[in-house]
Subunit: 106 residues, 2 copies
Amino acid sequence: MTTNSNSATDEICPAHALLKTFSGKWKPELFRSAVSAPLRFNSLLKQLPGANKQSLSVALKELEEAGILSKLTVKLKPLHIEYHLTDKGQQLIPIFEQLELLQHKR
Amino acid sequence: MTTNSNSATDEICPAHALLKTFSGKWKPELFRSAVSAPLRFNSLLKQLPGANKQSLSVALKELEEAGILSKLTVKLKPLHIEYHLTDKGQQLIPIFEQLELLQHKR
DNA sequence: TCAATAAGTCAGAAAAATATGACCACCAAC
DNA sequence: GTTGGTGGTCATATTTTTCTGACTTATTGA
């Protein structure tokens, strides 16, 4: 599911939007990586086994559109792009931590 | 994504499992419905516009396997089956409420 | 000027998720 | 003993997601 909006169900279930934001093969992984350090395209490609350009590109764009990552052009040494967690992204961290606790309880 | 386990990524990201549990077209909707009342197969089929037997059947089974719903055979009047939220399912409610708040904040 | 790194895009193929329509088994009422 | 409700399964088709491989633009270093 790569975030194709469905206005009907979106409005019925508010958490639906968030779940969609994180649906897809790579997005949870990307979010989690972004918690520890800013992301870079080519590094991700090497670090995530089985990942491909196209899918990463789309996933990054959608996380950006969802206001969870922000794209930053670093004008230094080897001029590159970094994806950082936004405030909204940071605010999600404690919520995911609660989910992890629930998982461990059983 | 119909919950095909990927032991590698599951272990890297614990929230991944939960996200998978709720991935798919109908699962968020089913969970949300189950919060207000037990679910019944044929009622869902009528109530959810566009839903089909096959997909509902699979979604219900997977939510059951994930320990979020439990199947109960009601041996009364018109002998039927009800899907109820388990304890684990109930514990997820406040977490989803937090997600809704985050959505509304921006 | 040539090659390398960085960050992509694009068209088409493959794989996975979802939908369709036919069918099945059980029970109860008529 | 046939009809109707309940809760499904199965094989197949369609749709959506994901992957592959070729190509692109910009910057940098030799």
